[in-house]
């Protein structure tokens, strides 16, 4: 992670080229082209049903778009399966938390490293040599870096199913970090969180970029968070990108306001809402 990271500090880490995705007659993505600069925090915003999660799924390999290509670190990964993409450094979290219920926090996090371990069945049975070394290294890194960093030391042996929502989100982030990601995709990292939890998460996201050197692409509805921490904002509506740029520029974009508020007669409530967004 140390020296490799510098070699490709420039240029987009992820490129999505002219990607379209339809489910029957429903066009979820129309000709979407997108770049995520290495080292950036890029936010993907848009009204409900705009195609944000579809785009996420297309990038992480869960959906197969009908047209278009995806490049990761310059490599065409269009044909790779989701597990293969995870292996080369694309980690993600889910809008509706996807944790392994029934397993403990520590086991959940360790599973993030699953794809990187080389131990074979026979070696594991004897638990000597490589498996032992791998397990020790994994433990040390997870304990020292990830668990401490995300401040979840006190719950490491708790079953994840019983944890409050905010903590589950944090465990999901921890598992994604254990995957040694180079691009971390967060699907609504603060959805359903209160202000304090949101601020904690914002701090973690910023620190992940600073300390791990991980590029971040996130879908988020919390506009204040998006404006505060992202470098680049991309706005989707009806499967199309309608605006992109610096947070402040996007905020002033009329088409974006229309997408969020509807294009009809602007009533007093809507005007208030616009004023609120502008005030942020």
């Amino acid at each position: 992670m140390q020296s490799e990271g510098d070699a490709r500090a420039d240029g987009p880490i992820l490129r999505v080229d002219e990607t379209s995705l339809a489910f029957g007659g429903l066009k979820a993505l129309r000709n979407v082209t997108l770049k995520v600069e290495s080292g950036s925090i890029t936010a993907l915003v848009g009204p409900n049903g705009a195609g944000k999660t579809s785009l996420f799924n297309a990038i992480s390999g869960f959906y197969r778009p009908q047209t278009g290509r995806v490049f990761f670190e310059g490599r065409d990964i269009t044909g790779l399966s989701a597990p293969a993409r995870a292996k080369i450094g694309l980690a993600r979290t889910f809008q509706n938390i996807a944790l392994f219920r029934g397993l403990t926090v520590l086991d959940n996090i360790k599973l993030g490293r699953h794809a990187h371990l080389r131990t074979s069945l026979v070696e594991a049975l004897f638990y000597y040599g490589r498996p032992r070394r791998e397990e020790m290294e994994l433990r040390a890194e997870i304990e020292q870096r990830i668990i401490d960093f995300l401040e979840i030391d006190h719950i490491r042996h708790a079953p994840v199913g019983a944890l409050p929502y905010g903590l589950q989100k944090r465990v999901e982030l921890a598992r994604a970090l254990a995957m040694k990601p180079r691009l971390l995709m967060l699907d609504e990292p603060v959805a359903g969180m209160n202000r304090e939890e949101t601020e904690d998460m914002a701090r973690f996201v910023l620190d992940v970029r600073e300390e791990w050197g991980v590029t971040i692409l996130m879908v988020e509805h919390d506009m204040r968070l998006v404006m505060d921490i992202s470098d680049h904002v991309v706005v989707l509506n009806f499967g199309e990108i309608i605006a992109r740029g610096l947070p402040a520029d996007v905020q002033r974009n009329e088409e974006v306001a229309k997408a969020y508020l509807g294009s009809g007669e602007i009533g007093s409530e809507v005007r208030e809402a616009v004023a609120e967004i502008a005030a942020l």
């Binding site: 597990p83 889910f94 993030g112 594991a124 498996p131």
Partner: protein
């Protein structure tokens, strides 16, 4: 030592040995269910298939017993993997009932194929277990335990121990548990989910085949031996469909209860006892003794 107590102990021992075989077959069921959520109603026929493979290789092809066992298990695993790849993987996303019906059809097809290949006549398997019976000291008397039963129990115990070790320490075991818990999450951390499905079917088929060879060596084989599958289904429902421990405890429990029923009520009623237990468990603990409660959304 009164004969009544001696009877009780001997029947109990024999029952637990049969129960161990139920447990082993139950594990073959649970592994598949855990990973894929498929209810494999053909589990008894998977046992039968393994037993006939062994019969064909040992009695007809005259291979040494150890080689016939290894080859029969490999053949059963191949069939399991093949069925997953070409039938069950295509049914992903179909309703649970449709897939269940497919396994029922599969059971009939397997019986038919065995009858075509080996006819429906009962046969006995070559003996490969020592024939020295066990005598368990019991006060002044000794309880008798047939050799095949005793050895089956020992072999099953060894296989179980291996299973537990593997699932505890090997990351493939963890991958299986993770896939069972959340497929999308498993995909996202780089677990090869279709690979896990194949693995589960191969392992399930091998486990059932091993049980089939042991059952066949105790009581002979016939194309109808898959009926044991009914008791096994009861075992896994009692134990909890997705619990390895449940299959173990449920197997021993049902095996023992059937032995008790045949001792005190009569052999022809032992299935009645089994299904009474099934009814009781379904009423009192619908997820089985050790099963995961599915409705747990907060």
């Amino acid at each position: 030592m009164s004969p009544a107590i001696l009877d009780f102990v001997e029947f109990s021992l024999a029952g637990l040995c049969v129960g161990a075989l139920y447990a082993l077959t139950g594990i073959g069921f649970v592994v598949v269910y855990k990973a894929t959520r498929i209810i494999n109603f053909a589990i008894g026929e998977f046992m039968m298939m393994g037993a006939y493979f062994f019969f064909g290789l040992a009695a007809q092809a005259a291979l040494p017993n150890w080689a016939a066992i290894v080859l029969a298990l490999i053949a059963a695993g191949t069939v399991g993997g093949f069925l997953e790849r070409f039938i069950f993987r295509r049914l992903i996303g179909e309703s649970a009932i449709s897939v269940f019906m497919v396994t029922i059809g599969l059971a009939s097809i397997m019986v038919g194929l065995v009858e075509i290949a080996w006819t429906a006549d009962p046969r006995s398997l070559p003996t490969f277990l020592p024939d020295q019976p066990f005598f368990v000291p019991l006060g002044s008397a000794e309880a008798f335990l047939a050799s095949k039963n005793g050895w089956s129990f020992i072999i099953v115990a060894a296989i179980m121990a291996a299973f537990i070790t593997v699932f505890r320490f090997w990351r493939g075991g963890i991958a299986l548990r993770a896939t069972a818990a959340d497929q999308a999450a498993a995909y996202s951390v780089g677990i090869n989910v279709p690979g896990v499905f194949s693995f589960a079917w191969i392992l399930g088929a091998i486990t059932a085949a091993a049980a089939g060879i042991l059952v066949g060596s105790i009581s002979g084989i016939s194309s109808a031996m898959g009926a044991i599958g009914l008791s096994v289904i009861v075992v896994v429902i009692v134990g909890g469909l997705d619990s390895l421990l449940g299959a173990l405890v449920g197997g021993l429990l049902i095996g023992w209860l059937e032995a008790m029923a045949s001792l005190y009520i009569g052999g022809e009623y032992k299935q009645v006892a089994t299904f009474v237990i099934l009814l009781l468990v379904l009423v009192v603990k619908p997820y089985g003794l050790f099963g995961t409660h599915d409705i747990e959304r907060l």
